[in-house]
Every structure is written in C-alpha cells, then in structure tokens.
C-alpha cells in the first residue's frame, strides 16, 4: 500500500475497518469526532454496524453487548466522554470480553478545552472504572503509529479477552501526516467458544460480571491478575533513541515523547549524552527497562502534557537510584522542543540533587517562564 496524507482520527478509523471491526458505537466529541464521522460513512457501505448512540454511557454498553457476541467491536471518544464510559468499561473487564477504545485526550478537568493533553493518564492507566482490573494502553506519537497500534489493539484485546485502549491526544487525532494503511483483512474469524450468539445445538451460555460469592470473585480477581501478569511479561513495548551511551534518559509518551525526541537530537548535536525512552505500552509500563537504565544514567527527565502523572510510575521504577526531574505543560499547551532542550541542558551542566518532589522546582521554573 502506498503512503498517503492522512489525518490521525480518520487513519485510526480506517485502520480499525481494515483490522476487521464489525461494529462501532460512539458519540460526537471534539477532538475525536472525525473518527465517528468516518465510521458513519464507511461501516454501512461495508455492511457493518455503525450507530451514533444517545450518550457515551449508551455507546459503551452497546459495545459491551456486541462484544459478548464475539465480534470485533470498538468505540472512540475524548476525555469527558470516556469518563462516562467508566461504568461500562468496568463491566466489560469483569465479563472478560475484548473491546477496543480510542481516547483522543483533551484538556481538563471538567469541560476543559479541546486542545491536546495527556491529563487522563491516571484515569486510563491506573483505573477509571470500579473494581480490580487493568487495561492494556497503547500510546501513539504519529499517525503511522496510531494506525499500527490500532490494529495491534484488536489483536491484544482478543488474545487476552481484555480492554485495549489507544491513548492518543488531540495532536495525534488532528494532525495530518503521510502514513500507510494496512490491507483490508477478511472477516473470517471463527466464533470464540465463549461468545453468546444463541444456544443452537449447544448448552446455553451466560456472560456476566457477577460473582456473588466472595470466594468466586476472589478467584476471578486472581484470574484477572494472573492474566495481567502474563501481559506484563509478554507485551511491554517501547522505543529507544540514543540510549546506548546516554548519561541522561528522557522519558515521554505520545506527543510529549515526540517533542522530547527533537530536543534530544538537538542536545546530541551539542554533544550532550542524552537518550529517549518512549513507552508504547504505558500499561503495562516498561518499568524493568527503566530500572535497568537507573544504573546506567546520571539522571532522568520525565516530559508530559500533565502535572506529572507518568512521573510516579517512573519514580517507582527508578526507586531512588537516580534523580528524576520533571517538565510538563498543562491544560492543552504543547511544549516546544526548546523548552525540553533547556531542561536537558540544565540537567547536563548543573549538579543534580535528589531532594524533594521534582514538581516543586519545575513549577517554579514554569511560572517564571510564563511571566
């Protein structure tokens, strides 16, 4: 297939179609809406199900129902809409049916704005819905990666009967880049042996998230945890740049990781030995690799478009063995490479201490920069 100029949202929509999604349920919300609009055009012409639901609450429960039939199904939304989906996501996790969700994150809390943000990292990576479960979370930084990770999301969701979320931000959804779409997959997957499609010639099946006896729920929680541990063992993905001889490791995901990449290259041109680790799976998190780097590098710099949510995961992996500095822009503001370069230079040329919460000193620097 040839490369073509594609907008992120449309690329993720078409990638889902090529990956064999059989039903889409969603509700309009900026900066994700083009995805839904593309589905409204394409799905019916392919004889597949598209429905604009009355709300995100309904959309995710339609997804839940359709997923119980064993079909490939998905939804997409942005932050406020995803908040409304949390109940449904928890039920989906408890019922162990595969579902793909694309979250094109915007500024918040509340109605916030429609600019790119990573403010929902904690909601998506560390929970959201009630109860004890994990979702696989993939974080693209380009249109091509958005396509590839969307396709991967369906495979991972089905492999583990789990929720797989593509955590994009407004940048990834809205930007246009040359990218290549995968070929159209045939819809010839066999019906899974747990799917509910009518009890023709077999025992009836029940799909539910209820385990009334605490002992049964405990067994379920253990099953979910063990499956998660398998995912942690097999599915951690990240990209590394210039880390072989690095003394400073920058860590950033999605758009922030991409901006950090430009900063790292500029710093390398100055002779600073800095590299970048960009998590592709923010859940499961590449903790083991970061722990390894902790004995190689002099310091870490975490760059995010939030107040330091992934920072906590990095700190946990580093476990105090090296200083972890932080730089973030908030509320829908995207950092420039220069801002991160300045941080890299500061770390490279000044002695590092490990005193206190790195967000305090960052906030001081940010505020003086804003004045």
């Amino acid at each position: 297939m040839a490369r073509e100029l594609l907008k992120g949202n449309i690329a993720m929509a078409e990638a889902s179609i090529r990956a064999g999604v059989e039903a889409y349920f969603g509700y309009p919300i900026t900066p994700q809406t083009e995805l839904l609009e593309w589905m409204s055009l394409r799905m019916p012409e392919l004889g597949r199900a598209f429905l604009q639901a009355e709300s995100e609450v309904a959309a995710i429960n339609m997804v839940y129902g359709a997923a119980c039939t064993g079909k490939r199904v998905m939804s997409s939304s942005s932050s406020p809409g995803v908040s409304l989906m949390m109940e449904g996501l928890s039920y989906i996790a408890g019922t162990e049916v595969p579902v793909v969700l694309i979250d094109v994150v915007r500024g918040g809390p509340g109605l916030g704005n429609i600019a790119p943000s990573q403010g929902d990292y904690n909601q998506i990576v560390h929970g959201g819905g009630h109860g004890d479960y994990h979702a696989i979370v993939l974080a693209p930084a380009s249109v091509q990666e958005a396509i590839d990770l969307t396709v991967l999301a369906f495979d991972l969701a089905e492999k583990y009967r789990a929720i797989c979320i593509v955590l994009a931000d407004g940048n990834v959804g809205q930007m246009m880049e040359p990218a290549e779409l995968p070929p159209m997959l045939p819809l010839d997957r066999p019906v899974p042996d747990w799917a509910v499609q009518g009890a023709q010639g077999r025992e009836r099946r029940i799909l539910s998230s209820i385990y009334l006896k605490p002992e049964d729920e405990e067994v379920t929680n253990i099953r979910l945890l063990e499956r998660w541990q398998t995912i942690e063992a097999n599915e951690v993905r990240f990209k590394e740049y210039y880390l072989e001889d690095a003394e400073i490791a920058v860590i950033g995901f999605g758009s922030a990781g991409r901006v950090a990449y430009s900063a790292v290259r500029a710093a390398r041109a100055e002779g600073i030995r800095v590299g970048l680790l960009r998590p592709i799976t923010v859940s499961p998190f590449p903790s083991a690799r970061i722990a390894e780097l902790a004995s190689q590098v002099r310091a870490f710099l975490v760059a995010e478009m939030n107040t330091g949510q992934m920072l906590a995961d990095v700190q946990l992996a580093v476990s105090g063995r090296a200083p972890v500095e932080f730089y973030g822009r908030l509320g829908g503001v995207v950092p420039f490479p220069d801002e991160i370069l300045t941080e890299i230079q500061r770390i490279a040329y000044r002695p590092m201490t490990m005193n206190g919460d790195p967000r305090r000193s960052w906030l001081k620097r940010l505020k003086s920069q804003m004045e």
């Binding site: 059989e22 039903a23 349920f25 199900a49 429905l51 639901a53 009355e54 709300s55 609450v57 309904a58 959309a59 429960n61 339609m62 997804v63 839940y64 129902g65 359709a66 997923a67 119980c68 039939t69 079909k71 199904v73 109940e87 449904g88 039920y91 019922t95 509910v196 499609q197 009518g198 009890a199 023709q200 010639g201 009836r204 099946r205 029940i206 799909l207 539910s208 998230s209 209820i210």
Partner: protein, 258 residues
C-alpha cells in the same frame, strides 16, 4: 389384556426454563413473568436463537432461570446492550427484562432512545412500584402517598413528582410498534399478559419495531403485605394509576393473530 389410557400432557416445564428453583420471595410475580416468557419462546421455537439481557434488580439472576443464552447488563443499560447484540446479530431474538428502577429511573435515556430508534427488540417491563432488590425504596412508579423506606411518610408528589407511565410515554415514539400494559394479579390477566408477550416477540420476529409489555407486578416483601393482599393491591391501587390497555399497536402489528 392391557388397556392403555390415552393421556395428554397439559402442563410441564417449558424447555426454555432451566431446572432450578428461583430465588424470588413467596408471592412475587417475577416468577410468573419468567414462565410466560419461557412458554412463548417454546411456542415460537425461539429458544436456540434467543439472547436475553438481564437487568440489575431482583431479576438480576434471570439468566439462571432461562435455558437460553443470556448476558447481564449494568443497572438501566439493558436496552443499550440489547442494541449492541441486535445490531451485530439481526437474525437473533433479543429481549430485555427490566424492573421499574432499572427501566424508568437510571435507564430512562437508554429505553427512550432504543424505542425512538425503533430498535427491533422486545422489552418485558416489570412495574412493581418499588425498588425490590435494595430493600424497598421509592421508584419513579411508586404511587402518590405510597410508603417506602425512602419515602417513610408516603410519596409526596410536591417534592418527588408523580408516577411515570412508561407504556403511555413510549407509545408516543414513532419507532415503537407495540406498547401495552397488562397485569399479573389474577389468572385472567396472566393469560392476557402471556398473549401480549407473545405479540411482543411476534413484532420482533417480523421486524416491526420496538415492542414493550409493561406488567404490573407484586412485591409483597417490600410492600409489607401477604401475597394475597399484594394481588389485591395491584388490582385496587395500581391499576387506577396505571390503567391496563393497548397504548400503541401499529397497523402492521394489528394484523398479527396469535
């Protein structure tokens, strides 16, 4: 010489009913509604192509009692879940079974929009004027003055509004092919209820839109009555507020003979 006496089975467990006893309280009419649905599925030969959607409420375990595929929805979301199933498996029979808290309170948006879309599903709506499962709180269908654990002085319409009449409300939506209210308080009305349930499944199998049967039902436990008193309460107190009747039968549905 042995003479065989000809016999005819007049009553047996429907195949669509599982061989387990239900957890419902003595005198609760949930079980009657279940049996009527199971009989209709048998009569129409639908058991093997049916997917039921259970609600959150006393009938949360409905999936244990039907011998067909079943899923269990979040509170109020059964119509959305049923929509998802029906949209990917349009040739299957999909029905929801929902209480009044589930359908007329927390799930109001989902039921209204499923109906407005003319979603080709069947809804059996159990109106017992109370929240059974959580121990007898006020429902949107509780009667004016009705004492519940969350309206201990009786439902005050000044502050909590009036009973919601779903069969009437849904009848106003163009997507609805069939919307009726029946009652389970005596044998005659039980027979009429069954006929309505049959119609609601016929509407689905012919693709004639959204079909709902509202069934006035008892909750002796939380009403604080004996089963017999509860049946009388349905007749004397509920029916005046929730009149039985056909609120919508579209012309294409009217032609169906069952």
């Amino acid at each position: 010489m042995v003479t065989t006496i000809p016999y005819q089975i007049v009553y047996s467990r429907p195949e669509s009913f599982s061989e387990v006893s239900t957890h419902y309280c003595p005198g609760c009419t949930h079980g009657i509604a279940h049996r009527l649905i199971a009989e209709v599925l048998d009569e129409m030969g639908l058991r093997e192509k049916t997917i039921g959607v259970a609600p959150v409420g006393c009938s949360v375990f409905a999936y244990n009692y039907f011998n067909c595929d079943f899923v269990e929805a979040a509170h109020g979301r059964a119509p959305a879940m049923a929509t998802g199933i029906k949209r990917v498996l349009p040739d299957r029979t999909v029905f929801t079974y929902q209480g009044d808290g589930d359908l007329a309170s927390i799930g109001m948006a989902e039921i209204m929009h499923a109906a407005a879309r003319g979603e080709n599903i069947t809804v059996v709506f159990i109106n017992n004027a109370i929240y059974g499962m959580t121990g007898g709180q006020m429902a949107p269908t509780s009667l004016p003055g009705q004492k519940t654990t969350s309206s201990p002085r009786g439902r005050d319409v000044e502050t909590t509004g009036f009973p919601v009449r779903m069969a009437e409300i849904l009848s106003k939506l163009d997507g609805v092919g069939y919307s009726v209210r029946r009652s389970l308080h005596d044998p005659k009305n039980i027979r009429l209820s069954k006929k309505a349930i049959r119609m609601a499944f016929e509407v689905q199998s012919r693709g004639l839109g959204f079909a709902i049967v509202e069934l006035l039902s008892t909750c002796p436990t939380n009403w604080g009555m004996t089963p017999k008193e509860a049946l009388h309460w349905v007749e004397d107190r509920m029916i005046p507020v929730f009149p039985l009747g056909d609120y919508k039968i579209t012309s294409s549905v009217a032609g169906i003979r069952v």
